[in-house]
Amino acid sequence: MYNQLKSEFLKLKYSKLFIAVPILFLAGLILYGSFSLSAGGTQLFVSEGDEETNAAIQGIIGFFAFTFENIDTPKFSEIMQSCISCNVFLWIVTLILTIQFFCCDYSTGTIKLPVAYGIDRVKVYFAKTIVIVLYNAVCYFIFNTITLLFTCLQTGYLPDTTELAQYLSYVGLNFLVLVSFILLCLTICICLKNTGIIATVMCLFTLGGAVIYTGIWQDFHSHAILKYLVWLNPLYYWMNMGTFRLEYGLINEIIIYFIFSLLFLLPLSVILVRKQEFK
């Protein structure tokens, strides 16, 4: 397994993705920074709700970057909200990294080599998954650290240890969703193999889910089918986290989503990989 991990890491190191992913993250940071500079402290989009009656954020769901009740006396919750909202860029980058890295071996035919040389195909799958998750994790935590630093510097807020721990727990929860999203992408990759089709399907699923959720979120539980579709969507968790709706059992939902990925998507992928024939 160590050899597989090392070789997958080498593949990543030698590929363009190794540079492209940090560049995309940097682009996300620049975009995030531009919100604060261009809009003078208030940004809001992909949202639905009664804004007028909710000067704060109680009736709104979606993306909040640099949304403060009072820019002169920012709260840490608002800073956190701004930083977590900024994670919207990560879904796209994660999607690109996962699809490109996993499907590269399928498109070049190099996936056949380890199999033909007697290497367990499940080991190859796990090595790929681990490398994708680890690389995403590194980029993700660096990204979130920078956004926090940047936002704190912009607002002049100095968080204490408890606040930092709280931020870390939110970022950690969001990371569980990110891992689940990666596993979902990988399952789709094994089934479809074509990067273009996978990207289209996943973009439609992810963004479509977000749009549906913003439309139905106020009476979410009354939509039987759409509710389950939204639950599968990572943006559902991100949007709720971005607006601090953890009190509605979101933590449990995130943990269930993560466990579902581990106990259902991972074994499903292993079964598919074992049964797969290579042309």
Partner: protein
Amino acid sequence: MSEIICQTTELCKNYKNFHVLQNVNFSINRGEIYGLVGENGAGKSTLIRILTGLAFKSSGIITLFGKTDYLQHERTKIGCTIEMPALYKDMTAKQNLEIQRVQRGIPDQKCISKTLELVGLNNTEKKKVNNFSLGMKQRLALAVALLGEPEFLILDEPVNGLDPTGIIELRELLKKLARENHVTILISSHILSELNQLATCYGFLHHGKLLKQITAEELNEECKRHIKLKTDDTKKTVTVLEEQLKIKNFSVYPDNFIRIYEKLEETHTISKTLSSNGIVVEEMSVQGEELETYFENLIGGCRYV
């Protein structure tokens, strides 16, 4: 008795109702260069994919290095190129080999430069595979297959895209590997004249069936131009051939067929002499062909090969 490296028994592969391979039985001994011949869609690549574990058999037995179970472990002794060269195009030749070396757990780092030198790609330096010619890609794919000194090489169309010099070099390299390192080679190619100069054994695959397995000597014998003769009295015919017609170069086969390898233009004289000695000629024809013609006749007509 030679050690059998690869063997299939009643190997079948079906896709729903379509039979890609039907009861294929063949065996390859250590040190042999086995030429797999067949037209497009005959099942060559499917057979190779099943041997390498890329596809699953529907029924039958595969034996690799004497084992029928846990073939995954036996496949660690195999090197292969399957159809188009499988390479990382945005990497250099060295990086491609480095990944394969690490993945297969080959400890010797020097094997990369040795293998690159062996296939003539030691001067590519920082050139990306994307900028390689097809011939260079074929060489690199071969280098990937040769990494770790495999005991059994499976090569699917390895000469595609190689220039004449490259083809000769590859041929000599494969011969050397078989001769000196006792590497067993299974090679499928459409260029039959090329196989003819390389293979020590042939398997002819047609519509998923192995029509014939034959050694190079037997094939040369079959392809050698000769007069095929059958009479009602073989013993007497032999005497007449030797004493009256002074023919020395002939052989008698168990089915009483006689093959005469000289005086091919004198069929009329031979026939007349035999008749004058009271021998009834039941069959007489001039035979012998190129490998292409032999294959065409075997599958029952001219096909694109």
